[in-house]
Symmetry: C2
Subunit: 196 residues, 2 copies
DNA sequence: GTTATTATCAACATTATTGTAGATAATGAG
DNA sequence: CTCATTATCTACAATAATGTTGATAATAAC
């Protein structure tokens, strides 16, 4: 009569890479939906359809799993930005692309989490990142204006994209922006920056 | 010889208001330094020099304590903004004040937490807030430009202040802004907005 | 002083989460 | 098929956080 609870579902044996990948996928979704609280072993494991012991087996600990996810997302963010900028020439286009990339795909949220969570080893302002921004600024400064102005423009785009990525919807509602107007904001900003 | 652990420190009996106030104070400090993780009963109680049962006695539960703190901070943010704007006339000054107020005192962090934490009952876009922004936009639109432009300007200031409040230091370093240049950013932005 | 109130605490109970250990089964190699 | 590897699971242990209870002491009112 199958009174005991032994569930008789078959085990699925994944390759290590496959297992890690699906764990990362589920964890990313939960990070976006639930915030850092969503990144606990139990919850992630359950959502991924495996026991939490399995997750620990693959990552070693909760902290290591979090770190792995955030490193992966940081890599993706950087590569997104670099790829977006590689093929743009004019300064205003560069800023527009930078803005749209940073404000998309939860990149803003990611950076905010990195900045807000005291436990995480802060953003490594490693060589590649620094070089990236240096190149952007060089290209803008060479076109027109001072170097300080160029820095300020990039800074503005970065902080605005960040804020938009985090609180964009809420603030749009508060300010009274219609959906259409909100959609026009990136190009409005780009156009505006061009006229410096 | 006092072998036993009975600590013989006297109890301090605070008024309920006093107790709640010092708990809020400690909690705010911890929120700024440790993030939302710092807002647990045990930690707050220990930092405030009382047992966690006492904190529960005054607020009912951990969740209620968090909510109380965040409501208090939200009230303060709104009153800060309103007060800052009440005595400004020209549009660019209004935007400058809005920016500086939002980017100060961890207001950006607060908004980010509200937006990022899924458990919290989201920002209540209550009447007063909506009216506040409506007034700002009216005053800017009346001076010059279209209403949509005014909204976009306010939106830009808001998201930028937010981003600055969260990741300002990190991004400044990344972009290569010197401390002096970073300090000039608000006025640079105000001047820039003026030229629309 | 006596009493009533209640802020405070220590100790316990409960729950959630993390991590560990040993058993089991899926898969590939031979 | 047989064997070795190891991904996976269940069950347990350890820890931490939350909330409850009953006792205690500080303060105000009388």
């Amino acid at each position: 009569m199958n009174v005991n609870n032994k569930s008789n579902k078959k085990r699925r044996r994944r390759t290590p890479e496959e297992a890690r990948a699906s764990i990362m996928e589920v964890a990313a979704e939960r990070l976006g939906r639930l915030g850092l609280d969503g990144l606990n072993i139990s919850g992630v494991a359950k959502a991924a359809g495996m026991s939490h012991a399995t997750v620990i087996h693959h990552f070693g600990s909760t902290g290591a799993m979090r770190e792995a996810l955030l490193q992966k997302m940081t890599r993706e963010l950087l590569s997104d930005v670099m790829e977006a900028l590689q093929h743009e020439q004019s300064a205003d286009k560069v800023l527009e692309r930078l803005f749209s990339t940073l404000s998309r795909d939860g990149h803003g949220k990611l950076l905010a989490w990195l900045a807000l969570d005291s436990q995480l080893a802060g953003f490594d302002s490693t060589t590649s990142t620094g070089d990236l921004f240096k190149n952007i600024i060089d290209s803008i400064a060479s076109e027109s204006g001072s170097r300080t102005d160029a820095k300020h423009q990039v800074y503005l785009v970065a902080v605005a994209a960040l804020g938009l990525g985090i609180c964009g919807e809420v603030l749009a509602k508060l300010v009274g922006l219609s959906e259409k107007e909100a959609g026009q904001f990136p190009s409005w900003l780009a156009e505006h920056l061009q006229t410096l």
